[in-house]
Symmetry: C2
Subunit: 405 residues, 2 copies
């Protein structure tokens, strides 16, 4: 008998799989450009007004367990934010604070999936979506973000798939990321409206991971599912990590605004799961509450960060598309580039070998596209300053040249 | 088809189930004595040297993702502590930082249990053990801590159970809490040695939750499983919440010291699970590292806290045993009292009704013993000052008098 559970084999994270090699290189004195992890605080200092609020909470002894659902101040700040930005009417009782989006995804899958249930995700997907679903026995239905549509969704194709599905009554949820990781695409309002209609038609809970919702540029306009899905059961996932530049605080949330039966059941199940694990970090919740509440400071911080990010993304996109060895759709949200490798022109088998050899030969750490469900793509994090990005892309070019057919 | 998974019904936390009633009472102006939650920071300020370290980490911009396995400083501090206190030789690679013991328990069950696998727990057990196991499809084998043995384990009974078990090759782990929650008992070295032998004989992984290991008094001597189980696969769970008086930091750990095949597999599975959820709160890890490393400050803080706790526990135990309506074994560890109600003498059906009515009539919030697997007991948290405990117990007595047959 195997010691470990069958599920345990699904616990993999492609973003970190080269970390041990990278560490070995760094320890041996090599300078490694690590652009595999989407960690804004590594490049932009977490705003001082939030750090001050965190320190204040510590000095005021907010160090015990918090309300398992999240402190009231934070849930109010989240509720106010959604009312202000998206006109969503969701009181604090519709919101549960989670330990990052990571925990929200575990809650989502564990509360909805029995062995053999299905859920719809779109590739390229955030690396955690597939293993988390499979860990809880889910059978993925993998639709696509279409590169030819600037990584938007072909809702006709989705509609055909849902209609043809004999087992469509076992599809529990449909999960999108908007803006997307890894493609950096902001989904169009029209696509979102069609997704809401399809979710409604097929009785599928629509889940929208909007962790990057304020990191939008190049003229794109972000639309929250919360604006469109009124009356249709939906779950909004978000958090402090990206828009408040505070990944290490581990504060996310789940919001289930609906009053319908499915929404009420889901909201109740989330709360029960939150109660079992006691609470999220207490003082961090005060910092995030202030982060959301203090609009003046937040506006300054996010404005400046998004300006830098857009410049870096556009700069790196241009270099990549000039290289001749790869091509990327230019993103209009988040901070990733997801170029397709012209793999046929290289003496390299696939994206896995590409990422592995690039790290060992050029000391640049990326993430393989197959980890996102898209073979022969790679993901770069475009957060570092331009000179670092330029150097990384130059090394990638040199690597391609050396391995070209 | 049900929307929610079958597992979701196991997500319950008896400790918080009266919270909504209590909140309603508090909002209506009632003064409620809440002694249901084991939260030291509510009564003892988290030591300043740790708060200072936390603030320093924030000011030094440790706000991004941490190493998913835990920052090196903290894993070293944990490794050093176990070497110093228990002679355990476990390097940093044997240690993974978790988001409290709560997450450690989720890791434990999800990595080891397939549907139908068994695990041994002992009642009264910490409330989370049973639902977490069932959530991941486990079939509990519930043995007992014996009140007649001062809540120690009757290892002969356990041995007979394990030998008779036709399905014993499906028992994945045996989980103890030492010192125990809710009974406050420190397990004897002899019992622990016998548990190690039984785990070894039956090929069961021994898991020891030692979160209260420094909260020991009344002449008891704590023994870590790590001291005894060398060569036998075992997992030690611990954390900052209780001994460092910092529940809201949400920092725990799992340590798997063994070099045997099972230990290596388990350690690997823990790391994979940790990588998927990215990291624990980053600055809190620096605070906990300092908490463990600064022996002089820690000794002062824990010494003073344990002195107060032992006085409060002994004081409250005496009052309870004088009341005539209930009886408790006097604890020698942790900070809970777990009295047996003389329910036959009361016009009250069971512990659930007792706890519910006590809250509504006397504004004292306890936790029902059946949540720990022990009907007609209740759990009190003996952390508050003596006058609060005296008042709570007086109200309990008055309540019993009023409802006596």
């Amino acid at each position: 008998m195997a010691l470990l559970s069958r599920a345990s084999k699904y616990a993999v994270n492609p973003i970190q799989e080269e970390d041990e090699v990278a560490m070995r290189l760094i320890r041996s004195g090599k300078k490694v450009i690590q652009i595999n992890r989407g960690d804004p605080p590594s490049y932009f200092k977490t705003p001082k007004y939030m750090i001050d609020a965190f320190v204040r909470a510590l000095r005021e002894n907010h160090t015990g367990y918090a309300n398992p659902l999240g402190i009231t101040e934070l849930r109010e700040a989240i509720s106010d934010r959604y009312r202000r930005l998206y006109g969503t009417d969701a009181g604090t009782d519709k919101i549960t604070v989670t330990q990052g989006v990571s925990e929200a995804l575990i809650f989502l899958n564990s509360m909805l999936l029995d062995h053999g249930d299905s859920a719809v995700i779109f590739k390229p997907f955030y690396t955690q979506y597939l293993p988390d679903m499979q860990f809880y026995g889910g059978k993925p239905i993998v639709e696509s973000y279409e590169e030819r549509l600037g990584w938007n969704i072909d809702t006709d194709s989705l509609s055909r798939r849902l209609r043809s599905g004999a087992n469509s009554n076992r599809i529990k949820y449909m999960l999108i990321t908007n803006p997307n990781n890894p493609t950096g695409t902001v989904l169009s309002r029209k696509v979102l409206e069609e997704l809401v209609d399809l979710a409604n038609e097929h009785g599928i809970v629509l889940v929208s991971d909007e962790i990057y919702d304020e990191i939008v540029y190049n003229g794109a306009k972000f639309t929250s599912v919360a604006e469109l899905a009124k009356g249709v059961p939906h779950v909004i996932i978000g958090g402090a990590s990206k828009i408040l530049d505070a990944t290490g605080f581990r504060i996310g949330f789940m919001m289930v605004p609906g009053e319908d039966r499915a929404s009420v059941q889901i909201n109740g199940a989330i709360k029960n799961l939150a109660r079992v694990r006691l609470s999220a970090n207490t003082p961090a919740q005060y910092a995030v509450a202030e982060g959301l509440r203090n609009s003046a400071e937040h506006k300054k911080a996010i404005g400046s960060m998004v300006k830098s990010i857009s410049e870096r993304v556009n700069f790196a996109s241009k270099l990549i598309n000039e290289s001749g060895y790869m091509h990327t759709v230019v993103p209009n949200g988040a901070f990733y580039l997801f170029p397709r490798l012209h793999i046929g022109e290289l003496k390299i088998k696939d994206d896995r070998e590409f990422v592995d050899k690039l790290l060992k030969e050029e000391y640049v750490q990326l993430t393989r596209g197959s980890g996102f469900g898209a073979r022969n793509y790679v993901r770069l994090v475009a957060l570092p300053p331009k000179e670092v990005l330029a150097s990384a892309i130059e090394k990638m070019e040199r690597f391609c040249r050396r391995h070209s057919r």
